[in-house]
């Protein structure tokens, strides 16, 4: 297959996307059904050609076609086939193509699964999605062509995929993440369509909700996988660093969570419409901002792609056009007249409003913390660093507060809830949560104020969720019938909230009770971490597919019993000569045992990093539970 076919496919996709942006929209504004009928076929066309381009690039990787520059820079003949496949998105151009593939996929999905929506709506939604496709296709065709060739000097072999990326994480993390990022374009398109045709009501919210929920679930899963990957791959035991690129993924997630909850209120009660539309626009804008931050080199990060000012400028232009146009449309067309509705002080509406306040505050906090150094530098006030200590201090109270509000809010009723009744209802859950929290803290080693707050908040959410489930599922025909009677959206909510609780509990415990030591060991030595003894048995050499490794063996003893044998490695990759640390982890429900090999100190002695990560698996599992929420929020 000639790589030029891929380039041609992208250009054709671009042309079809332009038609998609214009024709159905024109048809919807002028009432011409024949034009609107083009929406679905055009969406299919875009997807087919983007898919073709992606297939051509994949083929080039799998067949070691090093005449393609991108393949030569990111692959190697010795690379195992599954990494050749995922190397397609290992660099800027290919990951951008993956992004566009996802975008085209979502567009097609909307075209297929929206038969029941009014034609005007669907034409406009697809046109807006088409516009987004145009923007990104222009970007890739003009500045980031993956199919550039190295003729006539075709290299004999490639430069190899960055060893850090030669891992299972690369196969799953970016696709899931992008599905999430790009998925929010659908909610965005619905919002813009509503602003264009003026039809902003509960029905609109009902149509938007399932798309938003699925996108959110994918983003949650993508972030979880990224955290997990960093944890076991980077060799230093961390799983969240508040790095700008990580924050870039957290921003649409926080905003998207607020959006999901706001959509629920708009759908059920027809209120907060203007706010929900704004959230939909903001969430996708944050997705785009993330894409910009990662690829422009404006912020320093271990995760960023190579910085290129030309690409950065183009991407900023794309971001600017999208955000400014949509926010201007919002400013001019968003409804100012509000539905007159009463809500009591403890009504569900108010609780969800407060939830939005906290989530949006968290979004603002992370955004400000990430961009502040840029602002100060722009004002020539110096170069500042804002990192983990700052975010942990400021974010944690917001997270705890959200959990506390959640537990109480679960019991609230729409329109009006009696404050006294609510307070009495919460007494038992409060008592149970306090007891459970105390038990956990004692189990892990003692009382710490922050640990108490975090775990209590998690317990509070868990108890309240199950209590509510118990109450709702009581039925004359038996408990099972009662459980089956609940809607899928209710279970989606239960899963999501439990995911939050697990994550909070895990994150709190691992931050407060984890132990880490850096020790110098020669084979035969024993080191103690907490209650565990690590015996360094030996270290030998081992050959991998495209690397050689120093392969260590450690016995982990607890109370005289061997609980685990761990094999950390230090690999040297044959092509790039880069050295990589592969930690070995014994993952348990309540603790992880972690060993990594550091620097060689003398011929015999090595620096070894040992950690007992309390409840780390729990924290990561919690994040994954979010992702399991792949239930549309509505039937």
């Amino acid at each position: 297959m000639y790589p030029e076919l891929g380039q041609l496919a992208l250009i054709l996709a671009l042309l079809l996307a332009v038609l998609l942006s214009v024709v159905p929209l024109a048809g919807s504004l002028t009432g011409r059904n024949n034009l609107q009928a083009f929406a679905r076929p055009l969406a299919s066309g875009v997807f087919v050609f983007v898919g073709l381009a992606f297939a051509v690039l994949t083929h080039a990787f799998v067949t070691d076609d090093f005449s393609v520059a991108y393949v030569a820079n990111n692959s190697n003949s010795l690379l195992p086939w599954y990494y050749k496949f995922s190397a397609v998105w290992g660099g800027h151009e290919g990951s951008l193509l993956l992004w566009i593939l996802m975008l085209a996929g979502w567009t097609l999905a909307v075209a297929i699964f929206s038969r029941r929506l009014p034609a005007v709506m669907i034409s406009q939604v697809l046109s807006v999605l088409g516009m987004v496709c145009v923007g990104f296709l222009l970007f890739i065709v003009i500045t980031s062509n993956p199919f550039d060739r190295l003729l006539p000097n075709v290299p004999a072999d490639g430069a190899d995929l960055n060893p850090l990326l030669q891992d299972f994480g690369l196969i799953v993390h970016p696709p899931m993440l992008y599905m999430g990022y790009v998925g929010f374009a659908v909610a965005f398109a619905f919002a813009i369509a509503a602003l264009i045709n003026g039809r902003l009501d509960a029905a609109w919210a009902r149509w938007s909700r399932p798309w938003t929920t699925v996108a959110w679930a994918f983003l949650s899963l993508g972030i979880a996988l990224g955290s997990w990957w960093a944890y076991y791959e980077l060799g230093w035991g961390g799983w969240w660093f508040w790095d700008p690129v990580e924050n870039a993924s957290l921003l649409p997630w926080l905003s998207g969570t607020a959006l999901m909850h706001s959509l629920a209120v708009t759908e059920k009660r027809g209120v907060f419409k203007s706010w929900t539309v704004l959230l939909a626009i903001v969430t996708f804008s944050l997705s785009l901002l993330g894409a910009f931050l990662v690829r422009s080199g404006v912020l320093t990060s271990v995760h960023s792609f190579a910085a290129d000012p030309e690409r950065g400028t183009f991407l900023l232009g794309l971001l600017a056009v999208t955000v400014i146009a949509s926010l201007a449309l919002y400013a001019f067309r968003a409804p100012v007249v509000h539905v007159r509705s009463r809500y009591g002080s403890f009504s569900r509406e108010v609780f969800l409003l407060l939830n939005n306040v906290l989530l949006v505050s968290a979004t603002i906090l992370v955004a400000v913390g990430t961009l502040y150094p840029l602002v100060l530098d722009y004002l020539e006030l110096g170069k500042l660093s804002i990192g983990e200590p700052f975010f942990n201090l400021t974010f944690s109270p917001l997270a705890v507060a959200t959990g506390l509000l959640l537990g109480a809010g679960i019991f609230s009723r729409w329109k009006k809830t009696d404050g006294g009744w609510l307070a009495r209802k919460l007494l038992w859950p409060l008592a149970i949560s306090i007891v459970a929290t105390t038990a956990v803290l004692i189990g892990y080693g003692g009382f710490k104020p922050w640990a108490f707050l975090g775990v209590f908040s998690a317990m509070w959410v868990t108890v309240a969720t199950f209590w509510d489930l118990w109450e709702k599922s009581s039925s004359r025909k038996g408990r099972l019938h009662g459980l089956k009677r609940q809607s899928r959206s209710y279970y989606g909510m239960v899963l999501g909230h439990l995911g939050l609780a697990i994550t909070m509990a895990g994150a709190t415990v691992v931050s407060n009770y984890g132990i880490e030591r850096d020790v110098r060991m020669v084979p035969g030595d024993v080191a103690t971490v907490g209650d565990y003894h690590f015996v360094f048995r030996d270290i030998g050499a081992r050959q991998g597919a495209n690397f050689t490794a120093q392969y260590g063996t450690f016995d982990v003893m607890l109370d005289g019993e061997r609980v685990s044998v761990l094999h950390p490695e230090k690999r040297q990759y044959s092509v790039g000569m880069s050295v990589m640390t592969e930690a070995d982890i014994d993952a348990g429900l309540f603790r992880d045992i972690f060993v990594a090999i550091g620097e060689r100190i003398t011929d015999e002695a090595w620096a070894i990093r040992l950690q007992i990560q309390a409840a780390c698996s729990l924290a990561l599992a919690g994040l994954a539970v979010y992702g399991s929420r792949r239930l549309p929020g509505y039937r």
């Binding site: 230093w236 509705s341 906290l358 005289g560």
Partner: protein
């Protein structure tokens, strides 16, 4: 007999036999070691792509870790250690920005956002109280239709 030997072997091999290893840096106790770990996690490597000096392999990071250890041994407090490094490498190496006129807005952001939000919610709730009974009332005709539909439903369930 075999059991006694086995027990002895287990005791011998259970780690009690080998001596405790020296750390890459020597600390007088676990608390000091923990303090060191916390300090190096809060300091940024000036050369790297956003890493703290705990995780970075750069030579300058190693020098900074050495300096932190030396100063700890000399009895310096955490503030003194950080100040000493900031005095050489600039505010850049501090991951927790100092609260001054430049960073006041940064540190105040969560409070401003949350309280601002609470005020808005309070305003919404208060205004909604003034709205009176919820929604436009049903006309008598519509009410009759609703009653009819409800009656039908009661009959069919």
């Amino acid at each position: 007999m075999v059991r006694i030997v086995y027990l002895m072997l287990v005791l011998l091999l259970s780690g009690a036999a080998a001596a405790e290893v020296a750390d890459v840096y020597d600390f007088s106790d676990r608390a000091q070691e923990q303090r060191y770990q916390n300090l190096i996690a809060e300091l940024r490597c000036p050369k790297c792509q956003n890493q703290n000096i705990a995780d970075s392999n750069a030579p300058i990071s190693k020098d900074m870790r050495d300096a932190v250890y030396r100063m700890m041994k000399d009895g310096a407090s955490n503030e003194e250690i950080v100040e000493s490094l900031v005095g050489r490498f600039g505010e850049f190496v501090r991951y927790k920005p100092e609260l001054d006129s430049r960073t006041f807005l940064l540190w105040a952001t969560p409070a401003i956002a949350v309280f601002g939000g609470f005020l808005v919610v309070a305003g919404v709730v208060i205004r909604s109280r003034r709205a009176g009974p919820s929604g436009p009332a049903l006309s008598t005709e519509e009410k009759a239709r609703v009653d009819k539909m409800l009656a039908e439903q009661d009959r069919s369930s």
